[in-house]
Structure formats: C-alpha cells, structure tokens
Symmetry: C2
Subunit: 421 residues, 2 copies
C-alpha cells in the first residue's frame, strides 16, 4: 500500500499495522493491565536500563556532547521510577476508545452514532530524552494505538532496552507483541517513516523547530506539529501593577527552556509599568532586547544594557534568559504584532479592562489565550488532562495539549433494518 | 512567512489572511445576512452567470470534452436557483464559532474553556462543477473562514462571474472584500496554494483520486482528504434475503458515480443468497467481476458473463455499473479483505447475527460502518448535518461528512486573576 520502498522500517510498520487491528478491539481492562505490567517490568529491569543508559551517556560525552544535553539523556533510578509511575497514572485516565461523541436517531429511523476509535499506527520522532520512549508508548497503548518510536541515535542503547522491557511486559499481559517497536536509528529511517503512507496513520514530531520543519516538509503521512512556542505577554494600560510583574516574571523565568515560556513582552504606550517591568526582569537576570521606546525607558530606570531589538528578536524562540520587549500604541497593534510573529502557541494578556480582554481573546489566533495568567499554564497536566504527548500548534485535528482523546479518530456507526435510498 | 515565492497567489493569500482576522470576530447575524445577500445576488445576476457558463461549455465542447463532463460543467436557471437556495439553507444551520467544546474550573481557580474558532484561510481545489464554487464559499463564510477557490480551467469564466457576484454581495453586507477569492486557473497556482504555508491553514481537494494524491504528495499546508470510496457490502450467512438484495442493489446501482456507492460485494461461503444476488445485479445491468466461486455460482444460476476478478478489481473504485464479487470463508476473511483493499470510506454489513454485527463494527476501520443499511447513507445531508464540503476519508481532524464544525479549530481560553506557577 505505501508507494515507496521502506527497507529500514517496512517490516516493523506492517507488523504494527497488524497489531493495531487487534489493539483497537481490546477492552480497557486489558490495556490497563498491560500498563501496570509495563511499569512493574521497568522497575524490575531498572539496572539493565541504567547500564545501557550509562553507555549512551559515555559515548555522547566522548563525542563532545555538552553537559546540558547529557543531562537530558541521562537516566537514574529516580527517573526510571518516575516514568514507571507515569505509566501507572495512565490507568486512572478514562479510555477514550468507544466514547460516543454524538448520536441521534434520524427521521427515517437510522440510528447514528459517532464513536471514538484509535488512530491505528502512530509514529513518534523525538530527540534525546529517553523518558519520551516510555511516555509515548503508554499514551499510544492506552488509546489503542500501535507505536513506532524513532528516538535519537544518542539514546539508542537505552531505547532498545526500554522498548524490549515494555514490549515483553505488554505481550505477557495480552497485547500484540508488535504493539510497541523501536525503529532503527539510521538517519534514513525518519524519511521512511514520513513516507509510510498507508501503513502509518500519523507522525508526531517532538523536538526543535528544525526537526518539526523537516517533518512537515517531507511527510506524506499526516503530521501533528508540536511544540514551537514564540509566546507573548501583552500588558494593557489597565493592568494591575503587581499582577503584571508577577505574570511577566513567571512567564519568562519560571522555566526558560520550555515551549510555553514567554519570549516577547508587549507593553501599552499608556501603561505606567514599563520601567518597573524592565527593572524586575533585569534584576531577575533577563537580558532585554528592546525597541527605541524600551531603550529610553530603561535608561530612565538606570538600566543601560538593553540590546536594540531587530525583526529577528520578534521572530526568535529564545528558550533562554532573554526577552524581547516592545511598546505598542494600542491593543490592535499588539494583535498585529502577535499575528505577524507569534507561533500560535500561547498568548497572554494582563488587563483589568473587560473590553480589552474581550478584544484580545477574539483577536488572537493561538492554541491558548491566557487572561491574567502566566503562559506557563498551557500544559496537559495543568489543564487536568493527565499526561500529554506534546502541545499541538497546528489548527487541524488537535490544538493545545495532546492527551488521550487527541490520539483517536472517530467512526460513524449507522444502524438500520434494511434501509435503502 | 511562507518559505516559497508565490507569484500567482501570494497577493490573494495575504489579503485572505487579513480578511480572516476580521471574519473570525464577526457575529452570526452578519454572516447570515451576507449569505442571504449572496443568494439574492446570484438570482439577480443569473443571466451574467449563464452567459459566462455558455462560453465555458462551448469552449469545452470545441475542445472535445465528452458529454458527461459537459453536463457537470453546465448551469441553467434551475441550477443557479438551486445553489442560491443552498446558501439560504446555511442560514438555518447553527454557527459553530464560539461553541464551548468543554470547560471547567481547575483546582487553582483557573477557568478553562475550549472554544471553537474558524480555521482561518481555507483553500479548496476542485474540478469541473461550478456549483462547488458557491457551496464552498457559503460553508467557509458561515464558519468564519476566508476562502481561496481554485476551480478548474474549464469553468474559469463561470467561476469569475460567480465569485465576483458573491464577493460584491458579501462586501455590501459587511464582510471583508477579500473573504472569497478565485485563484488563477494556471496549472502552477495549485502548486503555490499547496505551499502557501503560513498564509493558508488548510487545503481541501475535491475531485478524483489523481488530484487527491497530488495534493497529499506536494502539500506542506495541512490537507483534508476527501472522497475516494472503494466501499464494500458484506453479506453474512445470517442475512435476511430480501434485505440483502435490496441493500446490495441500492448500494451499487442507486447512483454509480458517487463515492459512497459500493464497488465490491463480499458474500459468506455459507450464505444461500449468492446466486440470487448475482442474478439481481445482472438483471439490473451490473457487470460482475468474480472470483472462481462466484463464477461457479453464476454458471449454476444461468449467468455466463462474469469477468474473472483480479487484484485490480479489488482495488478499483469503478464509479460505474461494475461490481467485484468475492466469496469469503468467514467474517474475519471479509475484515481482512476490507483492511487490505478498502479506502476507509463506508463499509456495510447485512446480517441478523448480533455477534457478527459486533465483530464487523469493531473490526472495520472506516469513516462509516453501516449495519443493515446501504452505503449510500454516508452523506452530510442524510446524516442531518446540512451541507457538506466533502466526505473525509482521513483519520485526523475530521472523518466522514465535513460540515460546518469540521471547518473550525479550537482555542483554549484560560482566565485567572494573576495566576502564576
């Protein structure tokens, strides 16, 4: 069925497809039992996992990988226990498969039900962190999908052991043996996955902008984009001073390396808070990149180190202790700025004016709009959805945190008693 | 924002993007008033439309276009009145924009609402029939989207007049002037539309398998696939004889040129109905393509003209008075056949056995599964959804008839009072 040769992954994909046909029919209890067995097996085999991981870390260190990357790659007993616990928590989440999304009886007596079904085979392409291997496998299985995991080459030894442990435990608990498979780490296996149309139902890239762009460009399999967040906080003229300072600081500095951290601050020209916000950010260690009005205000506040901002600053997801700051003439100009430069992830307004809030919510086109709250709240856990496989920044299928229901499709089941047209 | 040059459509796409930012904020009443004005304008300018259409038809005839295609291209006063009436009927349908899909108050007091919003700019690529121009424009506007329409070159004169009439009426009623635009008919404009990432939010191809394959292969803009239907009817051993005959005949012969007509009949080896079904189909003028068991049964029923079926028959969407017929050993073999050859559109079972029905519904992965009903019911109008822009055969975003809610995305609106993490 796929139109291209798949020497590296074709066999795995065909076996995943067969597994998916069984998985879609399994009751929740069977899937939950498998998740618990997988968690137990991870804990039981933690030593094997850590041995393989130590080899990956050592090879990466020898290859000159920087410390921050090594930390993302490294597992320890606590981290293994943590991912095992995350599998157990999936058991408590409702199984979306079989949910009736809508239903009715038509005038002619036909009974119509739109029922949630698994997507089928889900391919996930991700970078260093091996905990994604476990999280993704758990989310896919709970939602009745077979998983094809393509982790990074740097974590390959770790991932081999993790997937072997998970797959064996799942099979013993009654799931098909090919429900979770690790794909080879060769570079070409990503390209094959992206072109396995007819065998793979969706590819979800988890990683930086470069990976996501490649996937979007090359893939003939449908893609759910995740994770690039060029997020803004707009401080309206009506904003409360303490609230604005707390939200701006939190959105920027609480955790700078994540997609829901803020990158640009937009301040209304009439707001008296600009100097205070700049000082608070500078005191917190943030490097400011400002337009001329910001540079002026900073100088008046005794701050001399503001970098002149260029278009590149408005476009950049820093993921660091840097923030671009711009003074806008009014709310429409803030909306124009966000429309021009935002990535459609999370946009926040701090304001006390109901009309300003209403215009901002109506005018911003993003996965999440936050009113008097930090951008950091855009998160499956914070939203109460449980685990997430990423945060979608696309408009089709799912936008925002991707939980279990977002890993399903639907089928219309139409029941008659001999109905013809 | 798009990474490629768009000499043919770039300007239109940028203006559509600006229009979409206004459209998303308009109340239902404004959009409905525009739809009524558009309907009135079409009727008022019917002569202009028909003059342009006569020129298109004449040019197509001179170019050797076959009569069946000419009929799809041709408008008359009744057809113009029909599409105008379809616009009026959109007014009665609920506006999905602003619907709260889910909402809750989190433990920390944050108020979470998932709200329907328009997709933004919708590109539609379609073939001869100019009524699609009006239907697509109406569905996009009612759901708050700007429409970029790329009809076929053969209908270009007609489409120019239709879009001019629609856009003028919409603008007079308060919609942005660029809410509906026709793209140039040059072949390259399709390629540009498919690569207008960042300006166009989704492309929906309406047409044959070749068009849809091209769109899927080339597009970096997200795509909703529509319309290829290799649909099956499975007649179980438990099927009622009259019901089976009525459903098989209806699914095959009611309208052969549409995607929800049946192409393959699968009959359980233990069913006594094979001869009767073959005779009824042959009597209705259907050319049968059968496996050896079917050819034997046909001979016993005095039918000599069954064509031996090959894999090509199982794969083909005939869209004609042809039907492939296979005898299967049991229901699992029917499921295997459908999984191997079906296009995921509509699959029907005729059976009285509840366990057979249950296994079929659980095992078939398609947009619609029909139990004791004809495949012809998979249709937005039949399902009570009103107008549809096509029938999606993909699993992401929307599966089955694409009505107004399927032309929307969502935004999470998160309201706090100074919430930080």
């Amino acid at each position: 069925m796929p139109e291209v040769e798949l020497p590296l992954i074709g066999d795995a994909a065909r076996r995943a497809r067969a597994a998916a046909r069984v998985l879609r029919t399994l009751p929740t209890a069977t899937k939950d039992a498998a998740l618990l067995a997988m968690a137990d097996a991870l804990v039981a085999h933690a030593d094997d996992v850590l041995t393989a991981n130590a080899a990956d870390v050592e090879a990466a260190r020898a290859g000159g990988t920087p410390d921050a990357m090594l930390d993302r790659l490294r597992l320890d007993a606590d981290r293994v226990a943590g991912v095992a616990e995350a599998l157990r928590q999936l058991v408590a989440l409702p199984d979306p498969v079989g949910d009736v999304v809508r239903g009715s009886t038509l005038e002619n007596g036909l009974q119509l039900r739109q029922v949630r079904v698994p997507l089928g085979v889900v391919g996930i392409v991700y970078e260093a962190r091996p905990n994604v291997t476990v999280d993704a496998a758990g989310l896919c299985l709970k939602s009745g999908n077979a998983a094809l995991l393509r982790g990074s080459a740097s974590a390959y030894r770790t991932n081999v052991v993790l997937v072997q442990v998970l797959a064996e435990a799942a099979a013993k608990a009654g799931l098909p043996a090919d429900s979770v498979q690790l794909l080879p780490a060769e570079r070409a296996s990503v390209g094959e996955l992206l072109n396995a149309r007819g065998l793979v139902d969706v590819v979800i890239p988890r990683g930086g902008a470069e990976l996501i762009q490649r996937v979007v460009r090359e893939s003939t399999v449908p893609v759910i984009e995740t994770g690039v967040g060029n997020c803004h906080v707009y401080v309206d003229a009506s904003a409360d001073a303490d609230m604005a300072e707390a939200i701006v600081l939190n959105a920027k500095t609480h955790r700078v390396s994540v997609c829901n951290s803020a990158e640009t601050l937009l301040v209304h020209r009439d707001s008296p808070l600009l100097g205070r916000l700049l000082t608070a950010l500078a005191d917190a260690g943030v490097t400011l990149h400002g337009d001329p009005a910001v540079i002026d205000a900073a100088a008046r506040s005794g701050l001399s180190s503001v970098v002149p901002a260029t278009d590149e600053d408005w476009a950049t997801e820093y993921l660091s202790m840097d923030m671009a700051v711009r003074v806008v003439d009014d709310l429409p100009q803030a909306l124009d700025h966000i429309a021009a430069w935002g990535s459609g992830h999370s946009e926040a307004i701090v304001a006390d004016s109901a009309s300003a809030i209403g215009a901002f919510v109506a005018g911003v086109d993003a996965a999440a709009v936050l009113v008097n709250a930090s951008t950091r709240f855009t998160d499956g856990g914070e939203f109460g959805f449980g685990a997430e496989i990423g945060i979608s920044t696309q408009k089709l299928h799912a936008r925002g945190p991707l939980g279990l229901p977002e890993l399903t499709s639907t089928t219309y089941v139409v029941t008659g008693n001999g109905h013809t047209r």
